[in-house]
Symmetry: C2
Subunit: 362 residues, 2 copies
């Protein structure tokens, strides 16, 4: 039924629907459910230790023998800036006090660079796809993955970034539009210039590169899927839509916020991690946005905000949780992941058949 | 051939393609060319005096007997803030000196509120559609237009704004996505919350209101048109794509900038008018963005920046021109407007037939 089978053949999947890797929210259960339903499940492994990574891969492979995707986060080691870190700790102190969390911890960067050890673990597990955020690893790493028959997937927020990734050997590129929830993947374009809406971004990327393009950002149902194919995409990636699935590792308070939210309630904020990311507006953001320009480098803020988030969730409060959400949030639905994949396929098929009959009648 | 004929029947047009009203860039010539080709041409009349408005309407009606659209800008009378105005004049002074323009003029608001006099002129001319930016006029004005068989078109950047316009009697709503060039139409949502990408905005607006929805923002060719219909829109509005047409009242230096630009070169800026608008980045913006928070209310800045823009154009320089542009700018093409309408129709038809044949074969 799909207008393009390029991605299906490349990734050995039945439906060109990718569940976005979402560190914290994705899980072996969610990824396996999506892959077992014929889509491509993803694991967000950018913040895992090597032993956690190994365990995550094993758990996924116990739950599915279908292709899945393993995602890593590329970033520069944060510059040591004691003054900024201390300023951030001072800003956190009243929030910590309010939630009775004691002293603000000493901040260290808590994310894992994709290194030789991680590469070896991934190659041993041999997933169908490895994807990267904020750019791609070095040539030797790309070559090692490809030599082992693992497809390499980049994420671009502009034509400039898509061309960079094609040149470095990406087999497929996710074009991440402005609508997307979570972190902006921008790494070469300026952050303002890289905020290109999915509907404008996808055709320009498709025109610029020869590899298949997956549309991401604002897609939540069969209408968005059909639109992505109309724009020239070979597939779609959905994040927010999978966050309200039963298998997603998302706290109830966050799921309910997604189900309640309107289209105009998301914001870009650097206040949770130090990099711009799309979330639902809440008390923490309202209070912290003022200080956004003076925060330490990504991902140092993660370390400072994680205890706040856990405490907020424990109290059933949205106030201090990073409520990751894309602009399609108003279309959120709660159901098991396999049912969501089936629903998306049915909706896209129905929309396609409507186009067909209208055209045939004219 | 179109998947929906709702808009064609409502507006008595052949193709559901609207040329966006663009004060300064739209013109009777451009509007008539689009309408004569079967689309809906638009006049941007928000900054015209009543006599200019009358002349514009007459010129258009001499050039076409097809339906067209007349657009007005709704805004609050700017608060008198002498300090801010003086600060803006001080900021302008070095630019004026650089372009040998003499003293910076005393700023007055140069835009026209849609008043009883303008209403009478419009009703006498009886265009098929009158559209509004930044909200709708009062109930009596809406009723007068509708009583005379003139359709009222609103522009919404969020579900909240679309619901407001439906309640006030809009017959059709343009859903303006984040990608759109020129001014953000946001007036009820916060400016950050109202920056919703077209692909996410359109289906949520379609779900919320019962009137037909026109998708705007990032659409530049047949792929974008087909995507808009997939999302549930009944038509499309294109601005940037028409700015490089022969008939557009756009200086050559601006047209060339559009033809040269890449997807990641647009920015939102308040520095030209006092309200956020999407343009190509240039020297003026790079120097003025720093002062953006301290500028006087819309549209006072227009008065201060117009002489700069004219001087910059006269020198063949992009440096001080408001290079209005949407994020689909990388798809710009130079041709007569009638040829562009024909090309868009052909591209959409081809894309539709591809969907049909692929589906039929599966």
């Amino acid at each position: 039924m799909w207008p393009s089978s390029t991605l299906l053949e490349l990734l050995h999947i039945e439906h060109p629907i990718v569940q976005a890797p979402m560190p914290g929210a994705s899980s072996p259960l969610l990824a396996a459910a999506v892959s077992n339903a014929g889509g491509l499940g993803s694991l967000g492994c950018g913040f895992l230790s090597v032993s956690e990574l190994r365990a995550e891969l094993e758990a996924t492979q116990r739950a599915t023998n279908r292709p899945f995707n393993v995602n890593f986060v590329m970033y520069e080691t944060p510059r040591s800036n004691r003054k900024r870190v201390q300023h951030a700790r001072d800003l956190m102190a009243p929030h910590y006090a309010r939630l009775q969390l004691g002293n603000v911890p000493h901040a260290i960067a808590k994310a894992r660079v994709f290194d030789a050890e991680a590469l070896a673990v991934v190659i041993a597990a041999h997933p169908r796809v490895v994807s990267f955020q904020f750019g791609l690893p070095g040539a030797a790493f790309i070559a090692a993955l490809k030599d082992h028959g693992i497809a390499v997937m980049g994420m671009a927020t502009s034509v400039r970034e898509a061309l960079d990734q094609e040149r470095r050997g990406a087999d497929v590129i996710v074009a991440q539009g402005w609508e997307a929830g979570g972190h902006r993947g921008t790494y070469l374009s300026s952050i303002d210039g890289g905020g290109i809406g999915t509907l404008a971004l996808v055709p320009q990327v498709v025109d610029a590169v020869n590899v298949p393009v997956i549309a991401a950002g604002g897609i939540a149902d069969g209408r968005g899927i059909l639109a992505a194919f109309a724009l020239g995409a070979s597939g779609v990636q959905l994040g927010t839509a999978f966050m309200t699935c039963d298998e997603a590792g998302v706290p109830t308070v966050h799921k309910q916020a997604l189900l309640d939210a309107a289209d105009d309630e998301t914001r870009l904020t650097k206040t949770f991690s130090g990099r711009p990311a799309r979330v639902l507006v809440n008390k923490y953001i309202e209070e912290m946005t003022l200080h956004e320009h003076a925060l330490p480098d990504f991902p140092i803020m993660n370390m400072l905000t994680e205890p706040l988030q856990r405490a907020s969730v424990a109290r059933g409060s949205r106030d201090f949780v990073a409520l990751w959400a894309g602009q399609g949030v108003g279309m959120s639905r709660a159901m098991p992941a396999a049912q969501l994949v089936g629903t998306l396929v049915d909706e896209a098929a129905l929309a396609l058949s409507r186009f067909r009959s209208r055209t045939a009648n004219s």
